[in-house]
């Protein structure tokens, strides 16, 4: 069974972190259709977060067609996500490396790059929530 | 709630029961000895012509225990008020546990009712038991000493200690409820109880029943004293002691004539000329007084002893009920 982690400093909403972790687990093959997700009770007993947050995350996943609740039994994985293709990963790694070289050439230091990266991630996840 | 009150009270109950048992055992053993002593000396002293010696010997027996048992009955109601009644509610306020107790599934009124009720009943029972034991133990002593209305003795025999104990408990609890601190509550219980007890003894008990009057002749045994109270005024006084009304409570004794007048100065200066230490000729003085005057004694007869006991018990129980009612009103007030 998957075990959730929480990064309170990341600025990403808790329920989104849960959704992302389920999706990543699906992408990496850790979760497969038929596996059961931990109950809200189990999650909050470990993470000490509001149960509604867990329920909201599971509802989002259900809307995406990735999980479905079985009354009285729990929430189970029903969908799949495309596994991350190593070739695809390699391509994005190359394009990111090129970008970084260009940023260095333009005079951006590591802190500037960090700031740009964080802003981009925040904006992207905010867009995702809307 | 009753079970919970018992849960909190268990330890104190056990200690009290143990203490009472010890007292009971001591009194039982010594009491039987005392009764035996009485039966073998005082009861038959008339035949042996040694009554005064037998009586003196008897009344001196177990002296320390006599004092202790009277003291115990005197102190127990006060101790109940200070150490049971006062801390019962005040400690909850001091420790903040009232915030735990008043947010369970019982209302404040029920919480108070059980604590007040159980405590008052327990206090009454303890005092009643103690009084029973001590009254039994000293029954012959009391008979010989023959002064049941003595202000000290009256309060440590019979049924009045029950009333005192219930009242002291209620007073302590009320003080704890009002002051919310244990020490001020204990102090208030102490002062309040002593004050009320003294007030009732001095100002209520004598007036519970209208005293009777009786005329007695003046004899040589009558303790009359003649005195010059101020220049040119001579008066005749009579001590209330030694008046032969058995088991009675003598309020006062006056020397009066048929019309109710006291002897005049002129009569006394002729009938009882005074020397340095009183009348020069006491026998003649007494005879002349007896010719024209008699004793007018104001008293409560011995038969009124038990009615007065029940009356005073009723007074203190009523006071306890009033205090209880006040507590219920107080605890329901809007502001905590």
């Amino acid at each position: 069974m998957i075990e959730f982690q929480l990064d309170t400093a990341s600025g990403v909403a808790t329920y989104l972190q849960l959704v992302q972790q389920v999706r990543q687990a699906l992408q990496l093959g850790i979760l497969e259709p038929g596996d059961q997700l931990p109950t809200a009770q189990q999650v909050v007993a470990k993470l000490a977060i509001n149960p509604n947050t867990v329920l909201k995350a599971y509802r989002d996943l259900e809307r995406e067609g990735l999980v479905r609740p079985r009354p009285g039994q729990g929430t189970f994985v029903v969908g799949t996500l495309p596994r991350i293709d190593p070739a695809v990963q390699g391509r994005f790694l190359a394009s990111m490396t090129a970008w970084l070289r260009k940023a260095h050439a333009a005079g951006l230091g590591p802190d500037d790059i960090e700031a740009i990266y964080r802003t981009a991630v925040r904006n992207a996840s905010a867009e995702g929530a809307a | 709630m009753i079970r919970f009150a018992w849960l909190q009270f268990r330890m104190q109950a056990a200690l009290t029961a143990a203490a009472l048992t010890i007292v009971a055992v001591v009194l039982a053993l010594t009491g039987l000895e005392l009764a035996h002593l009485y039966d073998t000396t005082v009861a038959i002293c008339a035949a042996h012509h040694d009554c005064s010696a037998a009586t003196t010997n008897f009344t001196a027996a177990d002296g320390p225990l006599q004092v202790f048992s009277d003291f115990l009955l005197l102190a127990v109601p006060l101790l109940i008020g200070m150490f049971w009644g006062a801390p019962l509610v005040s400690r909850e306020f001091e420790a903040g546990t009232f915030r735990l107790a008043w947010t369970q599934g019982v209302t404040r009124s029920r919480w108070l009712a059980v604590k007040l009720g159980l405590g008052a009943v327990a206090s009454a029972a303890i005092a009643g038991l103690l009084s029973l034991m001590v009254s039994w133990w000293s029954s012959q002593l009391d008979q010989v000493n023959a002064n049941p209305f003595d202000s000290l003795r009256f309060g440590v025999r019979g049924v009045v200690p029950i009333g005192y104990a219930a009242f002291a408990f209620a007073l302590g609890l009320t003080a704890g409820l009002i002051f919310r601190r244990m020490l001020p509550a204990m102090l208030a219980a102490l002062v309040g109880f002593v004050a009320v007890r003294e007030a009732v003894t001095a100002w209520v008990r004598p007036y519970l029943f209208t005293p009777l009057h009786q005329s007695l002749p003046i004899t040589t045994a009558t303790p009359v004293s003649i005195d010059q109270t101020s220049p040119g005024i001579i008066k005749a006084f009579e001590s209330t002691r030694g008046i032969s009304l058995p088991d009675a409570w003598v309020y006062s004794a006056k020397i009066v004539d048929q019309a109710g007048h006291t002897p005049t100065t002129s009569f006394l200066s002729r009938a009882c000329p005074l020397g340095n230490y009183g009348p020069l000729n006491p026998r003649d003085c007494t005879a002349r007084l007896a010719a024209k005057f008699h004793q007018l004694v104001t008293y409560q007869p011995g038969s009124r002893y038990w009615p007065m006991q029940w009356c005073e018990l009723a007074i203190f129980l009523s006071l306890s009920i009033v205090l209880g009612g006040f507590c219920f009103w107080w605890i329901r007030r809007p502001v905590t």
């Binding site: 809200a40 007993a45 509001n50 | 369970q104 599934g105 809007p334 905590t336």
Partner: protein, 298 residues
Amino acid sequence: MTAVIETNDLGKQYGRKWALRDCTLSIPEGKVIGLVGPNGAGKTTLLSLAVGLLTPTRGSITVLAGRPGDGPAQLEKVGFVAQDTPAYAGLSVGKHLLMGAYLNANWDQQLAKRRIDQLGLDLRQKAGSLSGGQRAQLALTMAIAKQPELLLLDEPLASLDPLARREFLQGLMEIVASHGISVMLSSHLIADLERVCDYLVLLVASHIQLAGEITELLATHHRLSGSRRDPRSLPSSHEVIEESHTDKQSTFLVRTDQPILDPAWTVRPVTLDELVLAYMGQAHNPRPGRRSALGVVS
């Protein structure tokens, strides 16, 4: 949706000082409510009024559609843990559970025992010798085992070390998940409550400054920065909560239901921490022309 706590112009006065004033709330059920505010703001007063330990000087309060403290049925519905978690020092843990069983009609002894075992508490240990964290857990167990519909906790984390805090919140959230009860817990630190709360009530200086669902609050507050401007030039739908200026730049914390369309602004979301601080600052230095019926989002 039924309200779990409803107040109307609620006020509590001591002598001449108002501990709580003009408090109007309607809190929906099934939430974990964070009652936040500095010390002395009135949090304990509000909680005490909700549980019936105090009665209002003005206005009214209704809890679970009943009057607080009004009879055993109402007292059973609300569980309370007071500040400093009072317990009877001379009674053992087991006797405290007995107390709960004797005094509450819906007491679940199995639940209580299970929790005590899970927490590793010794039934025979006297409450007076428990640590602060253990006493807090005992108090929470007693409040939970009576199976209330609402739990009120007054600064339950204040005297706990970080590990005890985490364990307390874990246990609390587990109960919320399994029993679906509403919880209101107070703290003067928003950081404690951020993880677990989905509804916020902010009390400063005896008045409600802010009340609403946290997602709603975060969605309607934004930090706008751009070139230096007068706050009055902002559209009327934007309520300015906080502003700061340099000679070239202005930053505003605004509250609005409308989307921010002006491209001249850099818009950043606001964290709960920033939001609370801004409103607390507002309370001490009120801006002119501020609406009085503020901050209440239903």
